[in-house]
């Protein structure tokens, strides 16, 4: 009765285990430097 659920569960996690590390790596690679060009100027200090 619940063997199909167990099978789907395993396949879902095989897909997640393959997909998320790829996304994680891609996300780390495309990270950009958000430091302002002039590090002395920061919007929080201008409030």
């Amino acid at each position: 009765m619940i063997q199909p659920l167990r099978r789907s569960h395993l396949w879902i996690w095989i897909a997640i285990a393959a997909l998320l590390p790829v996304l994680f790596t891609a996300g780390v690679i495309v990270r950009r430097d958000t430091t302002p060009t002039n590090p002395d100027v920061h919007w929080e200090k201008l409030k």
């Binding site: 997909l19 998320l20 994680f24 958000t34």
Partner: protein
Amino acid sequence: MSVQYQAVGWNRQKRIYDSVLAGGILTYLAIFAGLGAVLYPSATAETLLIRGFGTLALVLLHIILCIGPLCRLNRRFLPLLYNRRHLGVAMFLVALVHGVVSIIQFHALGDVSPLISLFVSNTRYESLAQFPFEALGFAALLVLFVMAATSHDFWLHNLSAPAWKRIHMLVYLAYAMLVAHVMLGALQADRNVALAVLLGVGIVLVSSLHLLAGAKERRMDREIAGAERDGFVEVCAVDNIPEKRAKVVSLGSERVAVFRYDGKVSAISNVCRHQNGPLGEGRIIDGCVTCPWHGYQYSPDSGASPPPFTDKVPTYQTKLIGDQVLIHPCAHPPGTRLKPSLIEHVIAGQTK
């Protein structure tokens, strides 16, 4: 286990579980706010609130996703499973606070509706670095809402356990979307290495545990029952079944729990009617098979719950030949009382 629906069937275990949960949540938020104020003095209260609740929701989701496979791999984690739905609802509420405060902070101050602004203020779907990650968080929050709203036993009984489980497997989709939400959102704006490392460790931990547990279940399903005799299949020697416990055997796509108790052997379906818990991993308490997940009980010879409860599971005919336990692979309708096989009788017959 309760005959009538109640908002929460409180008992001592649930009170302890929820107290620890509430204490943990408050402690985390206090530590996060305190450390945040010290380490980032320029951070606003709203920023700390958004980040505190956001990281807490992510931590809770990782804990929730680890509990299931940990219980499949080691029975010592079963107490964590008992009240996991309260943990899930708490996680949804924490995520909701994060979402609502974020929308107010970043989308409520313009002349466009905050919910419309959420989807139209950034439409750079083609860019990974500037992806509109808010949409992913919103979609995940909707999934978590559906799960929290249907978490009560009322929905579990009315939808049936398999359908309810299918709906609640959407948490895996929500998890993938939340990881993407953090990866393309917070981790793009903040180059903090610690957050990236923690998220990476979380992904590896959760995925590995689920794959290990899945592989273990697959091995169990592939274990073929023994030789067939007169339509019955061999399970094991009776001495291999501990008293008041069961041996679980796979018959095609079904698992059957063969219990030994008080000099008798009976077999019932391994699947609890409540949440499909593994009855064969439970034990016989007060004469009833007791599910290790939430304590639902069934008579081992009839598969019926003791009155006034009405839950029933299928039963299987057993037979003893020598010291071997055999079961017939055809399930009897749920609640069918079958005569248990008597161990003493067989042993006495052998010694004559």
